[in-house]
Symmetry: C2
Subunit: 163 residues, 2 copies
């Protein structure tokens, strides 16, 4: 992310708090800094570990709460995930994800065709569509290699492959 763009994101971060009357605390700054440049869609736990390097006193619970606040302010996106833990994404614009069913990894896709999908025809009284999200599922390179070495590792209840 370019320095100018980063600066813009930080201003948006402050403005969103001002508008909602929420205080801009040290912890919120730290969490936002920690996630802003991440491309790897970290879990709350991973964000916690990153923040702790700067602020060892911060609590795991606080990181969870702050990430929740950021999501409702539209500052970060929460993406649902086949594995147990939710993933957070500093990119809030519409974009699909590649999800590896074997390792749980998530990679962004920038393919404009997938951002212009027609919305399904639904009775607007029954359901109000807000947006959509595309999960493209498969296997990443690292996992493909691992399978070549030890094929058929997968057992009935193994890993997140059960998506």
């Amino acid at each position: 992310m370019s320095p100018a763009e980063e600066q813009q994101r930080i201003e948006r971060f402050v403005a969103a708090h001002r508008e909602s009357g929420l205080p801009v605390t040290i912890q919120r700054r730290a969490v936002f800094d920690a996630i802003l440049d991440r491309q790897d869609h970290p879990t709350a736990e991973q964000v916690y570990r990153a923040v702790r390097q700067d602020r060892p006193q911060i609590s795991r619970v606080t990181v969870h709460r702050i990430l929740g606040t950021f999501v409702s302010l539209g500052l970060v996106a929460k993406t649902c995930h086949p594995g147990s833990a939710a993933r957070f994404d500093p990119k809030t614009h519409q974009h699909p994800h590649l999800v590896c069913l074997d390792c749980g990894g998530i990679v962004d896709v920038e393919d404009p065709r997938l951002n212009r999908i027609a919305w399904p025809k639904v009775n607007p009284r029954e359901f109000t569509i807000q947006d959509y999200h595309v999960h493209v599922r498969g296997r990443c390179r690292q996992e493909a290699r691992a399978r070549q070495r030890r094929p058929n590792v997968r057992r009935a209840s193994a890993g997140i492959a059960t998506l």
Copy 2:
């Protein structure tokens, strides 16, 4: 589901077990029966409660394990969900889901246009695409009404709206 179609699904259930050399146990039959006609994408817990009406001795753990097995046999689909618990779907063919961000409900969509989306251009060495899934997110009728009565209920960490 028509009786003929249901019969076909049950045959497929038995065949899949035969092919994999897995025993067709009473419990597996019961779990399959319990989920076969469900349109509401139940959680493992909900399946457990349904099965328990027929077989009160069944264990919650067993239901989890059996659902995992069914997913890897391709007999049911597991869909990731903004809320905490995974949802199971007896419909295994490609179809998008409407997900209500307020109540967590899931409704099937049958719109052929959304089943023919072009796959993103990805280097096949980097990632092997298997399939994709579309989550259409918004608000269902019941929740829309609830909001009319008591608007702005949503707080920072409220519900699953934090997707």
